[in-house]
């Protein structure tokens, strides 16, 4: 049951082979058993989840179930959920109980899905290893000594270890795709503006986008059907008609033009990842795809551009955590300034502080033009690179991350090498494009089989086609069905 697809679970629920309550209990039991080690979840509220399961059972009995009704989904702890502790992985919000529902939470609630718990994450989504979380590191289920990636590391580990049927993540520079790659699952960052950001605690507003993390592309299509849609409470939400993301599934890939950016296969890419990606490309050739070499000449600039723009926005977005109205406040302080300084010094971790400092610096008088403005100009060039590429191909493929999962602690004190984890994913956020990672095989590292992800980048609003591109591959391969041992 824990390996079933969302469609299979839906069918089992609706034919009463299993109730949502039983299904939820089964996952809660697995969480009880494995979460103390894996640490994928920050908050579990069995009673709340079971109450939702009971309501879902009633809805199923009444005959008005939706496809996800009764299915337990893990929610990244970046989404504010009414009555749930919502921490964003930070001590700053350790005492914060959500007083309202994020749009994403509400959409899953309305679909009848069960909120199984809030997953661990890098503090305020800043990190690529889940090691910056105040709630401790998360183990990669494929090798417990390694990181699951980040920032949506808890969601990735929960899906990989089958501690939920599927999960949500958010992706500012690769935070869905990189952990999906490192944990052997499917993850999609949609076109910017497709999923409402209301109630999703902001890191870098112009880059943040929520998306599904699941076992297969088909599962993600079902989740996209729930998550997307215009929201009047988010001014950057796009006013478009609701789409059916399953509509392309099953179409042949004959004639699909796949672009391979030469910059994605250059220095920095580990040879074992390169080998896996190349064999996946060969599989696509067999499926009828036509391979074209393309160039994204400004790829190398995406990391410096990102590390100007994202911290700039973050430094301002995180100003509201001042200890005045909610969140952590220092126990003792002399005056107002002292209260701000102590509360923020105690409430934020090192990586968050580093980014607030960078962001404050690049926005300062005298530096704004040289950093922020220049970065915005290069951001446009990066988007133009993609626009040009999409005149030559339908989708772009390449590695998601330069390597496989690294050991916990290995990069923790080397921020720059950590930042390079997102070399292939960041440009997609800067351009606002949809990007996806799907399991493409395994690389043998120190005697362990570690998953490798293939990244698929599509043009704006091309998610339905991308999901089919992944789905077709998942029809002829079984990488996505593999499960870590010992679980």
């Amino acid at each position: 049951m824990i390996n079933s697809s969302l469609k299979q679970l839906g069918a089992m629920l609706q034919t009463k082979q299993v109730s949502s309550t039983e299904l939820t209990q089964a996952f809660l039991q697995r969480i009880d058993q494995h979460n103390p080690e894996i640490n994928a979840y920050i908050t579990i509220e069995a009673e709340r989840s079971l109450a939702q399961a009971k309501a879902a059972d009633a809805r199923i009995a009444a005959g008005n179930a939706a496809p996800l009704t009764g299915i337990p989904i893990a929610q990244k702890d970046i989404f504010v959920a009414n009555g749930w502790k919502t921490t964003c992985g930070s001590k700053m919000l350790d005492n914060f109980i959500g007083p309202y529902d994020a749009t994403v939470i509400k959409l899953f609630d309305d679909a009848g899905a069960v909120n199984l718990g809030k997953t661990n994450m890098d503090e305020f989504a800043m990190g690529s290893s889940n090691e910056t979380s105040y709630y401790g590191k998360v183990q990669n289920p494929w090798d417990r000594t390694r990181v699951p990636g980040g920032s949506s590391g808890g969601s990735a580990a929960a899906v990989a270890a089958r501690l939920c049927a599927a999960a949500t993540g958010t992706d500012t520079g690769g935070s869905i795709r990189q952990p999906a790659s490192l944990c052997g699952l499917s993850g999609l960052k949609p076109t910017y503006g497709l999923v409402s950001r209301y109630g999703m605690i902001a890191f870098a507003s112009s880059l943040d986008q929520a998306g599904p993390m699941a076992k297969s592309c088909e599962d993600m299509a079902l989740m996209m059907n729930v998550m997307t849609g215009f929201d009047e409470r988010d001014s950057t939400s796009l006013q478009r008609d609701k789409e059916n993301y399953e509509r392309e599934l099953g179409k042949p890939l004959q004639g699909l033009r796949v672009g391979l950016p030469k910059e994605f296969f250059a220095e920095g890419l580990s040879s074992e990842v390169a080998a896996v990606v190349e064999s996946a490309i060969a599989e696509y050739r067999k499926l009828g795809a036509e391979i074209v070499e393309i160039s994204l000449p400004n790829t190398q600039l995406s990391i410096p551009v990102y590390y100007v723009l994202a911290p700039a926005e973050a430094s301002s977005n995180l100003s509201r955590f001042d200890g005045v109205r909610y969140g952590h406040r220092a126990a003792e302080y002399d005056d107002l300034l002292d209260m701000y300084c102590k509360s923020r010094a105690e409430g934020f971790g090192a990586e968050v502080k580093r980014r607030i400092l960078i962001g404050t610096y690049v926005l300062s008088a005298g530096y704004y033009d040289a950093y922020y403005l220049k970065a915005q100009q290069i951001r446009r060039l990066i988007a133009e690179d993609f626009a040009k590429a999409f005149t030559q191909c339908d989708v772009i493929m390449g590695p998601t991350a330069p390597g496989t999962a690294f050991r916990s602690g290995e990069k923790a004190n080397d921020p720059v090498s950590m930042y390079l984890e997102d070399l292939y994913t960041i440009a997609v956020n800067l351009a606002g494009l949809p990007g996806m990672s799907i399991p493409a095989g395994f690389a043998s590292v120190d005697g362990k089989q570690l998953p490798v992800g293939l990244q698929v980048i599509g043009n704006y609003f091309d998610e339905a086609r991308m999901l089919n591109v992944g789905h077709a591959y998942q029809q002829v391969t079984d990488w996505h069905t593999r499960m870590p041992e010992g679980l």
């Binding site: 504010v80 999703m200 409470r233």
Partner: protein, 476 residues
């Protein structure tokens, strides 16, 4: 040395929208603390701003009213600083690209007209309020005001005296109420001015260092503050000192200005475009829609009054000095009063009475309909102007309409020529000496006799008839 003062104004006008600029909360004044503060206003994690279209319409209205450029694309920016009454740690404002560009406002200063250039006007949100001493040793925060929509209107340094600055501020105050974007309530902070003051040797074209007087919420204080600040700056320079750029506060008790903080220590606000809000796009069509519901502007109305009612520029200007007066006058004329007579009464008797009682025309106890009723009785000779004032006083005290007062008090003018002749015969008989003087060539005696006749009729005799009959009898 001869000195010249140079003044520019920044005015925060609170817009009269139903809800806040980025949330659905009410903006009504005086509610219990924090009862009008939503998740967005208190900046809970995850919330996002959504621009209130009504605030944009107010900005467009203002732009049209001062003949300004309305930006087809303007950008909201974040002004970052920490303060407990600023929940997000930044204020959403407009920085490089404001919604309203260059415009102008022409004001009357004494006998002269002066055009003040408007640099820009931009939309922004207000902060909350810190309430000190709310409980022992603690400060409270009331976020009801946080997110209230403001239009900040900035002028060029075009004013050269406190009088000009006050004339501009009053005119602007009247205009924003006229077009219905601000209630103008200065006590409640709906209209507050920051005044930039500098001085320079007369004839110089270089600007001196300015000091900014913050948050003036009365025209009287503005006048006093500018006058004090100007004297202080001149004295400082004449004593060999220099002016430091600074923000100052005016203390109404001492009548002095005092530096709050010097600009050198000022915050670096780290402005950048707000990524939560798209650039504000305003189309020609949007502007046309606002134009269609714009009230007639005071300048246009003044010209129309001169043209349609043959009023003097002075009269037309006075009648359009406020929306209330203009509406009142228009209503009197619509009720059938003769325009010139209506103008005289509205600006004369009515204004004097209101002034005497320190009341606004909207509070006038005599309605336009009642005043029109009175003026009609003057026009048809039922009463004289003099009697009309007596009737007006009675109407003011709530004694009823003109007709019923005239009737009740028996004030109807005497036009019966037989009655008038009888009165004059009596006057001539009783004032033989005056009659002699007149016949000896003293024209003044004639006026005295008219006065006696009017007195004898208790003011009710038609003065024209009295004149005519008296002259006929004396010259007979």
């Amino acid at each position: 040395m001869q000195w010249e003062v140079v003044i520019g104004l920044e005015t925060h006008t609170q817009l009269q929208t139903k809800s806040k600029i980025f949330s659905g909360s009410s903006i009504a004044f005086g509610a219990e603390p924090n009862t009008q503060a939503s998740a967005v206003d208190i900046a809970l994690p995850g919330v996002l701003p959504v621009l209130n279209a009504e605030a944009v319409q107010c900005a467009i209205k203002f732009g049209l009213a001062v003949n300004a450029e309305i930006a087809p694309r303007s950008v909201f920016a974040r002004k970052n600083y920490f303060y407990p009454d600023l929940p997000k740690g930044y204020q959403i404002s407009q920085y490089e690209l404001p919604v309203v560009g260059k415009g102008s406002l022409t004001v009357q200063v004494g006998d002269e007209e002066k055009t003040i250039r408007i640099t820009r006007a931009h939309l922004e949100e207000d902060a909350g309020k810190s309430v000190h001493g709310a409980s022992a040793g603690m400060s409270g925060i009331d976020l009801n005001r946080a997110g209230t929509p403001l239009l900040e209107i900035v002028t060029e340094p075009d004013m050269r005296s406190a009088a000009e600055a006050v004339a501009y501020a009053k005119k602007l105050h009247e205009l924003v109420q006229w077009i219905g974007i601000c209630d103008g309530n200065m006590q409640e902070g709906s209209f507050r001015c920051d005044v930039n003051v500098s001085v320079r040797p007369k004839g110089s074209d270089k600007l001196g260092t300015r000091r900014e007087i913050k948050n003036l919420n009365s025209f009287r204080f503005m006048q006093q503050a500018i006058e004090y600040e100007t004297r202080w700056q001149i004295e400082t320079l004449e004593d060999g000192g220099t002016i430091q750029q600074a923000t100052v506060l005016f203390n109404p008790d001492t009548g002095e200005t005092r530096a709050m903080r010097s600009k050198e220590e000022a915050n670096d606000y780290r402005y950048f475009p707000d990524p939560d809000l798209l650039p504000l796009q305003i189309t020609v069509d949007d502007i046309a829609k606002v134009k269609a519901v714009m009230p007639e502007l005071p300048g246009d109305m003044k010209a129309r009054f001169e043209r349609e009612y043959s009023l003097s520029a002075y009269d037309a200007s006075g009648l359009t000095s406020s929306r209330g007066i203009a509406d009142y006058f228009t209503a009197v004329v619509t009720q059938g009063a003769e325009p010139k007579m209506a103008a005289n009464w509205v600006m004369g008797t009515v204004a004097a009475k209101l002034n005497e009682q320190d009341q606004d025309i909207s509070a006038s106890p005599v309605s336009p309909l009642q005043l029109a009723g009175l003026l009609k009785r003057i026009a048809d000779n039922t009463i004289s102007n003099k009697i009309a004032r007596e009737v007006f006083d009675a109407m003011w005290s709530g004694e009823g309409d003109a007709d019923s007062i005239i009737d009740k008090k028996g004030l109807k003018q005497v036009t019966d020529s037989g009655a008038i002749e009888a009165i004059i015969d009596e006057v001539l008989a009783a004032n033989a000496a005056m009659v002699e003087e007149f016949r000896a060539g003293k024209e003044k005696a004639f006026n005295a006799l008219v006065g006696q006749a009017m007195k004898a009729s208790k003011g009710k005799a038609n003065p024209a008839q009295v004149n005519e009959v008296l002259r006929r009898k004396l010259e007979a």
